[in-house]
């Protein structure tokens, strides 16, 4: 079944006079008719509240995204007594990033880089499949503007009341409404900035510190800056941010193709726009489905007219679809005069309606005598999302994701890094034995104290001496490692003269947690004087 088919219960309303539909007075902000040269003030936009499927979906997205953002830092996650119990924490001071059961050290930042690669390919995938869905549904700018509009509508009313209030002279009512609107906006701004900083420190403690003015100055400054940006971008600038400040609308044009779904005005069935349908009928004129009510223009948060075609300003929030579907439903006509459609389908339908461009649009051609759409009319089809291009993006996206997952599950939580002294490369001791110096770093990457055994594998006759360890020379040392810390050791390896066979002998440092059998190995080289082989023969 086509989701755009008219509501059967309202079929009797078919061909109801369009004069019954309220006609809004609206002019799109980017109309060439009202443009001035050089520079111009922002044209105020008063988006009307829309109702429908997409609006419902956007409310859910808003609830989920804002919920994650504001509540995220408050989720607790027990990691024992040696690590913070905050589920999501970016601990810059200690250079650790916690995400539920995952802890990332700075050298594991490639996981974050991998997530960014996935985010990039995710955007390519979404954009090539359903156009600017990121902009229309999930971009923080869109979500916060939506939230600010909820406040604005609650205090000042819907579009017409807001326009009236805006034009009205200053009065007690206007001052009261304006002050409370901006106060709530600022409060949202403060809580937005506040939520941000909770990701970087223990949230309950930081909240207490903020309240008692004990928090670091940078916390207050960050809240201040984010309050300002949230208030200015969400309350005052809104669509200006998308149109003039954001680079994304200009980039993603390159990612759309003729099979990408974008919000489209189907003028092959809408034109010619006819508000006075009775008059047109009496004059025997052709009338398209568009009744020129401007409902699509007044709900648009960008203040544009989708009927002018695809435009840079359009964030594809689909509210015009909801508005138009409401009108079509009322008139008993098929929904989807404005719909998600591909350029390929649109072009095919346009060719049908214009006789391959031979004449002006005649919407009667696309329907049969019963008012049903012609078989040749192309409709929205989910299958178009799964095509070579999007499958390729999905493949790359999934491959990076699987790679990251494998890396995450197989990563070591015990590591040993070794730096061989280069100056001097080796030292002769008084008994003629040769000593090499190494800086050994043992990384205990779990929030538990451990005893790590460091030993030499190979290099017969060699013993280790470790600065600061109260233990005689040995081939094996037990190193106490603090939880979630790296231990740096100065290790001297000595080989007796009679055990030296080469000026370059290979051996391995083995770090092992005997209780969990976790271990890591470093392949090292023992250097000796170049004449060591000759001396052996004396």
């Amino acid at each position: 079944m086509n989701i755009y088919t008219a509501d059967e219960t309202k079929k009797e309303a078919r061909n109801a006079p369009a004069e019954d539909v309220v006609r809004h007075d609206a002019e799109p902000v980017n109309s060439a008719k009202i443009r001035k040269p050089l520079y111009e003030a922002r044209k105020k936009i008063f988006p009307k509240r829309a109702e429908g499927r997409f609006r419902q979906f956007k409310w859910i997205v808003m609830l989920v995204t804002l919920g994650i953002y504001y509540l995220g830092p408050w989720i607790r996650w027990d990691r024992g007594s040696f690590a913070p119990d905050q589920a999501i924490l970016i601990d810059l001071a200690h250079r650790r990033f916690y995400f539920f059961f995952i802890e990332i050290w700075p050298q594991e930042f490639f996981f974050v880089a991998g997530l960014l690669v996935m985010a990039g390919f995710g955007l390519f995938l979404i954009t090539s499949a359903v156009g600017r869905a990121w902009c229309g549904y999930t971009c923080p700018q869109t979500v916060w503007v939506d939230l600010f509009l909820v406040v604005e509508r609650f205090i000042e009313g819907d579009r017409n009341q807001r326009i009236k209030l805006d034009k009205a002279p200053w009065s007690f009512e206007k001052v009261w409404k304006r002050v409370s609107k901006h106060a709530i906006w600022l409060a949202i701004g403060v809580s937005t900035g506040g939520a941000w900083i909770f990701y970087f420190a223990d949230a309950p403690q930081l909240l207490l510190d903020l309240w008692t003015f004990q928090a670091p100055a940078v916390a207050y400054m960050t809240i201040g800056i984010l309050t300002g940006t949230t208030y200015v971008f969400g309350g005052l600038m809104r669509e200006q941010v998308c149109t003039y400040m954001c680079p994304w609308p200009r980039i993603q044009g390159a990612m759309l193709d003729e099979n990408s779904l974008t919000v489209t005005y189907n003028d092959w069935r809408g034109e010619p726009r006819t508000h006075g349908t009775k008059k047109a009928a009496s004059e025997g004129k052709v009338a398209g489905d568009c009744v020129d009510c401007n409902a699509c223009v007044v709900v648009c948060p960008m203040g544009i007219d989708i009927r002018d075609g695809q435009q840079l300003e359009c964030i594809t929030c689909a509210l015009c679809i909801d508005a138009c579907d409401g009108v079509m439903d009322k008139l008993g006509r098929d929904k989807g005069l404005i719909s998600y459609a591909t350029l390929a389908d649109y072009n095919a339908n346009m060719a049908l309606a214009t006789g391959n461009g031979a004449h002006a649009i005649n919407p009667n051609i696309v329907r049969d005598a019963d008012g049903h759409f012609h078989d040749k009319v192309k409709h929205f089809n989910w299958k178009i999302i799964f095509r070579a291009r999007t499958l390729l993006y999905m493949g790359v996206w999934a491959a990076v994701g699987i790679g990251l997952l494998v890396a995450l599950l197989s990563r070591d939580r015990l590591e040993v890094n070794v730096l061989h002294d280069r100056n001097p490369q080796f030292v002769m001791e008084s008994d003629g034995s040769i000593r090499n110096g190494f800086t050994v770093r043992i990384l205990n990457m779990i929030p538990e104290p451990r005893v790590i055994n460091l030993s030499i594998d190979g290099l017969e006759g060699a013993t280790m001496k470790i600065n600061g360890m109260d233990q005689p020379d040995s081939r094996s040392f037990d190193i106490p490692a603090d939880p979630d810390k790296a231990v740096t050791l100065k290790v001297y390896v000595t080989v007796p003269r009679n055990q030296l066979h080469d000026d370059e002998q290979h051996f391995r440092f083995v770090a092992e947690d005997k209780s969990s059998n976790e271990h890591d190995v470093y392949k090292a080289v023992f250097n000796a004087p170049a004449d060591v082989k000759n001396r052996e023969h004396h």
């Binding site: 060439a32 520079y39 111009e40 003030a41 922002r42 030292v427 001791e429 008084s430 110096g437 001496k465």
Partner: protein
């Protein structure tokens, strides 16, 4: 523009600029953008008032904040010095042996000593403290004056054969070229070479043994094992300050060379010398 050109498709006026038939639409700039531009100009003017900006003939304008990169660096260095104070004060108050036992103090002192070593000691001892002919290698476990932290500290403090320090370490090997016959020196060199398991080619070790007992054992010991109290090197080991082999031993016995190290305490202060001692002690040969 004399005649306005309006783009047919968009209905927007063009700027009048044409490149290969392509015209530029004259879409208006948002007004807030123009304001931002003016705000940037104001910011730039404010910057020149507060910070050094305009070049003058011999100098430049200083700005009312009177900030320079040099003054910023000075503040940062002062702050860094202040942060180090807790360690430096403790080091000043503690004996070297105790500093080594304190983990965080010995880490700090080793790093500070390494820095001081690079500046003051590398010309003779080398950047890796590996020494050279006549300059002791500080990495090995052979010590003329002792390898404990306190002994190293004393050596660095007062130097070796520094005429200006009454407590300096002094040892003086006689010019045996004026006392012994060349043949006796050759034989004693053979004996010493044999003691340190070096090949003997020219002299007679058996004859040299008696020469050694009569002339050398007083300082170097009966077994040629050396004597740290006198700064007399151990002649049985593998480490030779002026080179190994009979020829080098003959040269050193005939007309000994003696190195000089200045007393560093008066130059660097007690704390830095302690840090140097901790660093040298950490190089692997410390006792």
């Amino acid at each position: 523009m004399a005649d306005k050109h309006v783009d047919e498709l968009s209905g927007v006026e063009t700027t009048g600029h044409v490149w290969d038939g392509i015209r530029e639409l004259n879409n208006p700039l948002p007004r807030w953008w123009v304001w931002t531009f003016y705000a940037c100009i104001l910011w730039a003017i404010g910057y020149t008032v507060f910070y050094p900006a305009w070049p003058l003939l011999t100098t430049n304008t200083k700005g009312v904040l009177n900030v320079t990169n040099r003054s910023v660096l000075k503040d940062e260095l002062t702050a860094a010095k202040g942060a180090q104070k807790i360690y430096v004060d403790k080091i000043a108050a503690m004996p070297v042996a105790d500093i080594i036992k304190d983990k965080s103090l010995s880490e700090f002192a080793t790093a500070a000593g390494a820095a001081a070593f690079k500046v003051n000691c590398t010309p003779c001892h080398g950047s890796g403290a590996q020494g050279g002919i006549g300059y002791p290698n500080l990495n090995d476990n052979d010590w003329l004056w002792g390898g404990s932290a306190d002994q190293i500290y004393t050596t660095i403090s007062h130097g070796i054969r520094d005429p200006q320090d009454p407590d300096t370490r002094v040892s003086q090997m006689p010019n045996f070229g004026e006392i012994l016959k060349p043949e006796e020196i050759q034989n004693v060199a053979a004996y010493v070479a044999e003691q340190s398991k070096q090949p003997v080619t020219t002299g007679n070790p058996a004859a040299g043994k008696e020469v050694f007992a009569n002339n050398c054992a007083a300082c170097h010991g009966d077994q040629a094992q050396g004597n740290r109290d006198l700064g007399a090197p151990n002649l049985t080991d593998a480490i030779w300050l002026y080179g190994s082999g009979e020829a080098a031993i003959i040269a050193q016995a005939t007309k000994p060379r003696h190195g000089v190290m200045p007393a560093w305490k008066v130059r660097l202060g007690d704390t830095t010398v302690k840090e140097l001692a901790v660093f040298v002690h950490s190089l692997g040969g410390g006792e």
